[in-house]
């Protein structure tokens, strides 16, 4: 187990170093997030719809789109110069490869969200101070679910034409359960309700995370091995 995690971290670190050196993807993702938030501002009538009613929607549609767009990156970059073949002939456990990609994607999406959340608060003047900790917890739970499935699927589509579009079409139905849960919990939190009212949704989010991280860890090797 320790060995698996060490290998996974090696893969994740490689991806993050690559990302840090070029910064194209992360900057694009951050700008994209900011742009979606501004689109939301102008895509509603502020005199008719109070921001607080729309806040959970704005937050989660933005995070969902940002996460989906960044997930393609994980395996697309391995296609250049047959880097994937290099990874596959190295003595690297397939589960570790998946976990490595998962960790890198999670950190990537977390970074986007950690900029997106303050921007959201700034643009829409949503009072999150009182519920910041549980809100971050919900974001983490939902993001783990998004990214677990997304990382597996980005390996499925990497060799296809229109990979970016296909990933979105395959992935969106899978984002619906965590999205519903996250929106509901966010609405409860922003509405000042106690966290205990969200227990059912939190259980659903946790079950989804456990279910799909395990399933994807099991199935990943079929996407890369001959």
């Amino acid at each position: 187990m320790a060995d698996l995690l060490r290998q996974a971290w090696t893969v994740a670190r490689k991806d993050l170093v690559l990302e840090f050196r070029t910064r194209t993807a992360i900057v694009s993702a951050l700008v994209f997030t900011a742009l979606v938030l501004t689109v939301f501002n102008f895509g509603r009538d502020p005199t008719a719809v109070p921001t607080i009613d729309l806040a959970p929607t704005i937050l989660w549609v933005t995070f969902t789109f940002a996460a989906m767009l960044t997930l393609n990156r994980a395996f697309q970059l391995e296609l250049e110069n047959q880097a994937l073949e290099g990874l596959l002939v190295s003595p690297l456990n397939r589960t570790s490869l998946y976990w490595g990609k998962l960790i890198a994607n999670l950190m990537f999406v977390a970074l986007v969200e950690s900029v997106g959340l303050p921007l959201f608060v700034l643009f829409f003047d949503v009072p999150v101070g009182r519920v910041l900790l549980p809100l971050v917890g919900v974001i983490a739970l939902a993001t783990l679910g998004f990214v677990a499935v997304g990382t597996l699927f980005s390996a499925l589509v990497m060799r296809t034409r229109f990979a970016e579009l296909l990933l979105v079409v395959l992935l969106l139905p899978f984002l619906v359960p965590p999205l519903i849960g996250a929106v509901q919990v966010t609405a409860l939190l922003l509405g000042g309700r106690p966290l205990s009212e969200a227990a059912g949704w939190l259980r659903l989010l946790a079950a989804y995370d456990i279910g799909f991280v395990s399933l994807a860890s099991l199935l990943f090797r079929f996407t890369v091995d001959e």
């Binding site: 597996l152 589509v157 034409r161 619906v176 989804y208 399933l215 994807a216 199935l219 996407t223």
Partner: protein, 231 residues
């Protein structure tokens, strides 16, 4: 007799029986007291939903078996089942709103079962798109098997998450802990329709499976002694 011919016969018998079910449903089954004639669509809608669910279940099963034993037959079967399931979900998704408009007063509502079936349809489409996008047969079989299994696991989550909203859909009337709450004559019509739709599923899948075999044979001719193409 070839597989396609056998499939054709089964489909033909299924369609003839479907006509018989229609006659029974329209002429020899009592009109429901509150819903009137609109309820007749139930004998088409519910069995279509059953066949669509059956298709998805068997796509998942075929996918698991393919990954376990790597036999191309399971991949062909899963592909056939997905295509047939798409057709049945379309029947279900078109007959549902036609019934819902007079009875609920709305074409569509985001209730648990409606949402579930809509996503079932999206899953079938995504599965077929992925199959279309991967050209190498071995890769296509593995990729679509992975997606098929994920789809099967997703459905309970969608049902559960949407169910946490209040549901408007009629509650189960046949498969429930107590006795079916449907008068005997209606129940017979419904069960007959279930049997007919299951038969149609079998007939369609056999024909679609035969199409895959023909495509593989053609691809094999093109490549000479290639490894074959299981579509």
């Amino acid at each position: 007799m070839t597989l396609a011919q056998r499939g054709g016969w089964i489909t033909g018998i299924g369609l003839a029986l479907l006509a018989a079910v229609y006659v029974r449903a329209l002429a020899f089954t009592p009109v429901e007291r509150f819903q009137g004639p609109a309820q007749k669509i139930f004998y088409l809608h519910v069995p279509a939903a059953w066949s669509a669910m059956l298709s998805m279940g068997l796509v998942g099963l075929g996918s698991i078996l393919y990954l376990l034993v790597r036999d191309a037959r399971f991949d062909r079967f899963a592909a056939a089942s997905a295509e047939v399931g798409t057709a049945f979900s379309l029947v279900m998704l078109t007959t549902g709103p036609i019934w819902a408009k007079p009875i609920w007063g709305t074409w569509w509502t985001w209730d648990a079962r409606l949402t579930l079936t809509l996503f079932l349809f999206f899953l079938f489409i995504g599965y077929l798109l992925l199959r279309g996008a991967v050209t190498e047969p071995g890769l296509r079989a593995r990729y679509s098997a992975v997606l098929g299994i994920c789809g099967l696991v997703l459905l309970p989550f969608i049902h559960l998450s949407v169910y946490l909203f209040r549901t408007l859909h009629p509650q189960p009337i046949v498969l429930k802990p107590s006795a079916p709450s449907l008068p005997g004559s209606m129940l017979v019509t419904l069960l007959a329709s279930f049997a007919v739709f299951t038969l149609l599923y079998v007939g369609f899948v056999m024909q679609r499976y035969a199409v895959s075999l023909l495509r593989e044979a053609r691809a094999g001719e093109g490549e000479g002694e290639g490894e074959g193409d299981h579509a």
